[in-house]
Chain length 448, copies 4
């Protein structure tokens, strides 16, 4: 499936073979033919074409492929017209009725719907695997403590499992979103040149129903020459949101594998750097973040495709030929990369524990505020006082010692209380119940 | 409500007063206080704060507003901390417990959820009115014939009602989409500094439940320091898709009011041009199209906000302060403008009928292909032959005459058949049934 | 050059063969090798490698191509490392020194610079041809009168030549912009792993100079592991602005070829529509507008690539592999399409003259304001009065008649003056001098 | 200048007062009046208006402000027309000639040019200060050693000064870019309703020249109703690139202030967190990164404004009213924040030195490759061997020890050589000469 002579990196470097072949011109032409066949069947069913034409295109069109259409298009300047001519010529008496009453975008948009259905299906399958892995990691590392970080600063302790559970929840939301989007985008379009089904007279709705049923795709309730483009924009937006979530996870890995942090690593035998033999670069995660930028970009073109003129202009055509395949391929690669990450990630629990000590106790400053409030301190004064103390710490100080030495606070709270209470493992709140809630939620989304 | 001294055009030029005040800093601070109050109530309920503190902030915090918080923030450099300090100082014994265990974004994100809920509610109301108007126009102009256009060229006849019904369907899809999005974005966030609810120990889930219930917003099942940002990205994307659909309708109006087309006009007493007194410019529609570009743009920032670092970084904060209010205000203005358009639009049915004659019959060329196929012609040959004939027409020719003069076709089909069949009014297909299907769909969406 | 099996439409449908081959992996690898050769030459020159190694890679590396690198990359997971290993193995004693002291991005970024130089060169050549054509059309149609349109409404008369001259000027600005951008983006990067040239000790600057000289590309004055990415962002922005200008011209063609307007046509033998044989769709112009959306989108990814972490992270890599080739290919196709448009455009001067009559004289309302002011009327009152008159016109009225019938104005200005003055051909202002100024400007830009 | 009642955060939270007031409606209206005055002067100069009208608007229009125009616009629906009417009424005999022959966008675009000139001037001044600070820091920390990082991993040693010098160079490129952009965007537009200067007959060019000279802005050589929008797109792109570079620096600060890294801090007395008193969050840097997302977004709208229809449509108007002021204000805030960062940044040189030890010598693995090549090793084999050794290191190992223990390498290179050579301070390459080159470059750019 790899096409090294090709110009585009998605032809050989990024994306899976199954996704790539789904968007190959060969596959697209084959699907066009499938739609023309369904249409001819419907014409036969309603009595416009001879009944002998049922599934006839399957036979007379079976050797027609991308190359032949491409050659004809060079003459006619129009791909669907070329296909219709070719089938017209090849299919004898039935050829007379090929494409009758249809417009190109009946074929193209119904083909997009079918290909997008399959492409979303690939994406959902991989995304489900990612979510399952995250659920598993949530429990595997449920109690594995580490610094929680906000603004890049140690905030409060969390556990790796809690971290993973957040990603499980977030990605489950993307799965929901894809399901919401597919309701609006996987729709057939069988309504002729301006959407009125004029050429089929009173039989239009019946033909639409038959074609849609055969192809397994529900029709839009109304359309112009084309399906409304808000569906495509929603689809690409949903993919871009998913891409940005995977980017967020990749960023997590990249940051946690910093030389100074060292809590999480990509495990690999790859060469890290052509210059520096010692490097272990998080290149899989970086590739995810890199491709996320591409997917985000493509949203704009998909939004610009919504305001087509009147019953349509053609400007969606060339841009969709680019953005749909590239968006799916990029997200496909990103999901594959995420699966690799999840299945090979190395978590250094010891490093995480050591990092927890870096603030020498100050990571639990919030807990001290709570203790002081319990002992009658106003929260805002406790907050101010504790902030001052922390800021007074020098690099040899320990938070508990500093508090214990403080004239004011030492009156209120004793050192042994501090030593008993100010422990990271005791300051994890409802983490297990939250992991439970998040993974249950994700499991529910996986089911339907 | 208009603030002419303000820097931003949304402060006075664009957007409704109700939407503007929803995003005023005063309203934001008041909502912060409402959330702090709900939290203190919950702390009282679970026994952390004295029971006397229930709804106490309503009293002690009732004079606190934007100005006071702003002044304090100048010193402290942090808005929520400032508010917490102020309330701490003002609320006596209860002040001791204000904000206890919470993180700023418990307050901010819950506030966003509440404001977004109200903002979406305004948007939905106006959008519903737009859809209702479109349904009405669909039937009012159901039979009013006009050229359907693709590529800016006359394609086949349609009716204005059919055109409106397409917009009704498309916008109903946006209403669905907003409803899907609000499931994921209108969520409270009550989980403390890194999402574990650590400061509330085993009472965290109960506190979250109480706060959420009081404010009428369901909580996220898990979170970091902040609610996951995919919800905001979905919201802005949904608004941008809606904006692009309104842009599509505005483009319709702009194009149909061209001097040469003249089928649809904005009716207005405005000055059209400062130079040319004769102009009747579609400025309302142009404003819609202009603001659509702004809303589309903002999607990118919302997508970039998804990949925050670890348990969050702050980079979403400043950008959301810009993109959320501006996106809502722009769409709000666009909906108001669309309502003006819909309620004052002038449709020149006579002009449309005259335009239908411009191709001197060729607009029905597809119908001739169908007639020829019925008479035994292969479709692709009929298509080719008719295309040649049309292209041979000079400016004085009439399509029917040209066909009737053609040696080959005149053998197959008689002129009186042509004259009987090649009439725009007879080539509208299932338009009424499609209008019916589309408006029923839209009405269903309006209901729930 | 067409690769029909390929996934990406730029592999076969869009873009020229010369541009496509410039971004082929084969060409990229060959350029990598050329850079490695230049580096080895420099190492030989400064005495680090044996002098016999000069241009040795030209021989030992001449059979190395994309396939071999790709196969090795499958093992090593790193393309430049793979190439360095292959050359190391193949080049005997000189192989020992291949890539010595370099980092991958010394090779990659210098290769990008060289390929971008050639790609910009192709773009500039085609853009210059477009500008030349526009200059020619400016003079050919200098006096060919047509309605000027603002807001889609007839405004004042212009000439087609004046219209073309505006495009000539605008595109000349893009040519300038590309020249400004290439100063900052066509730069070699020869500075090792973090930009300090550490491995070459005191010989770094000399090596950089020698490599840059041999390859004909000036170096950045400083760099990190990579060249600064603002240059790439500027390049893609400049291409996107150019694309948007071509889109503007394409939109002009699309609008002027509307059935009702009919002033400008794409001339083609193509099939216009698979459904409607009579259509003459502006598909070339629509393809330009469609691809413009793609190019605009890619700007975002290029901007997101600027903020790399520290001395670089890898996230620019995958996204640049996509955006650079695709942006160039899209613009390349757009320029080719624009050339086709310009060289085959049909201008219907008669239609334009007829359209000028559509407002029955009101297109000259501004002129009447001027005449009234000359006769002592305040401009704002003249403006108001004329606006009222125009708005009172019914469809049988003629502007001159209406004015002549007006009690007030008829006292001030006589009908024969109106008939003499209110002629489109007399209301073209300084159009010829402006065409002259614009085309001279454009010619100057073409020169340097 | 702070307007707390205002809806938009740029009205009070972000941006400087000087930039804010530049985009206030009051300032805009005052500039409109200045342009109308210059036009009336020109009309007087060429003999169209009485010579007494020179600078008359300065007097009769001096009390006209935003409020009055706004009130009139509510009636007329057009801001410039409103202003022209008001001045027409107020300026007696001269009022008769106000705005004569001009179109609204002669006033608006010339006003934009003047305001943009001043806004760029503010931006350039602050940017120059940023660059100066960076040059200073480059030398102050020229020899202050720290780990260079790629992929977030320690790569090779650099110095902080070298790091700053890179930013100095990069930002100097943005200053160049702004200077290139202003050539194309700061242009007057004085050419009437469709650009032909028709109302001024043969005096158009002279009037344009006089107006432009008086206002100190060169005219476009040709235009439609409006100045070409590519200039605005270039401007916003240039601002977005600058914003992304500032984002890159902000990201540097954010990453280097991580708890584990601790090499660079924002110094502040602010409250770091409302929950966790110990936090020292890099909030200034985060605000820069947050606003960068907004500015990047706005590029898209500016690109979409390029393809206006024919001699213009109005869709640029509403979007430019948003994007121009907001882009400038955001960048203004970002530059102010960067200055704060640069002037208060704390660099912990000791921490950086300690971090350098984290890889226990492996950060110099490239140096060992060089040493081995000098001793006859092929580079690729040396690279492979060293990579294996590094990967074999456990957490107690030291790189030099591991190499010295290696059977193979210990034959080639002695431990005392390793100890002498493998020192970070000796592996900084040409850093000082590169700092010199970069700062000289930046200084040159500062000059012109």
């Amino acid at each position: 499936m790899v096409n090294l002579d090709a110009f585009c990196v998605f032809d050989w470097r990024y994306g899976s073979g199954e996704m790539r072949s789904l968007f190959s011109y060969e596959k697209i032409v084959k699907t066009y033919i499938e739609v023309e066949n369904a249409l001819l069947n419907a014409l036969a069913e309603v009595g416009i074409a001879p009944s002998i034409c049922r599934d006839h295109i399957k036979i007379c069109g079976k050797d027609v492929g991308a190359k032949e259409v491409y050659e004809r298009e060079k003459i006619l300047g129009h791909d669907i017209a070329s296909l219709a001519y070719i089938l017209g010529e090849k299919c004898g008496e039935c050829g007379n009725f090929v494409h009758l009453g249809a417009t190109s975008y009946d074929i193209v948009d119904t083909t997009w719907a079918m290909i997008i259905r399959d492409a979303i299906s690939i994406i959902k399958l991989k995304l489900k695997k990612v979510i399952s892995d995250l659920i598993e990691l949530s429990w595997k590392y449920a109690d594995s403590i580490a610094p929680g970080r906000t603004h890049g600063q140690h905030a409060l302790p969390i556990t790796f499992g809690f971290k993973f559970a957040n990603y499980a929840y977030e990605l489950a939301r993307s799965l929901e979103r894809l399901k919401d989007a597919e309701k609006r985008v996987i729709k057939s379009k069988v309504s002729g040149a301006v959407g009125t089904m004029a050429a089929w007279e009173e039989k239009g709705l019946e033909i639409e129903k038959l074609v849609s049923k055969q192809l397994g795709v529900e029709p839009h309730v109304i359309s112009t020459q084309v399906a409304p483009r808000d569906g495509f924009a929603e689809l690409i937006s949903s993919l871009a949101i998913l891409a940005s979530q995977l980017d967020r996870f990749a960023l997590e890995v990249r940051e946690l594998s910093r030389t100074e942090v060292g809590e999480m690593y990509e495990v690999s035998e790859r060469v890290g750097s052509s210059a520096m033999p010692h490097k272990r670069n998080p290149v899989t995660a970086e590739r995810i973040s890199g491709l996320a930028k591409v997917v985000r970009s493509l949203v704009l073109a998909s939004l610009e495709n919504v305001p087509l003129m009147h019953e349509r202009d053609l400007t969606n055509s060339s841009s969709e030929r680019v953005i749909l395949p590239h968006a799916f391929m990029a997200v496909d690669q990103m999901l594959e990369d995420t699966l690799i990450l999840l299945e090979s990630i190395y978590i250094d629990e010891k490093a995480a524990r050591e990092n927890l000590e870096l603030t020498r106790g100050a990571i639990l400053s919030e807990k001290l505020v709570v203790l002081l409030v319990e002992r009658g301190y106003p929260r805002h004064e406790a907050h101010k006082r504790v902030m001052q103390l922390v800021r007074s710490m020098d690099e040899n100080d320990n938070f508990i010692d500093v508090v214990a030495r403080d004239e004011e606070l030492s009156k209120v709270i004793e050192k042994d209380v501090l030593e008993k209470e100010l422990k990271p493992d005791k300051y994890l709140g409802s983490y297990r119940r939250l992991i439970d809630r998040a993974t249950k939620y994700a499991e529910d989304v996986l089911k339907f």
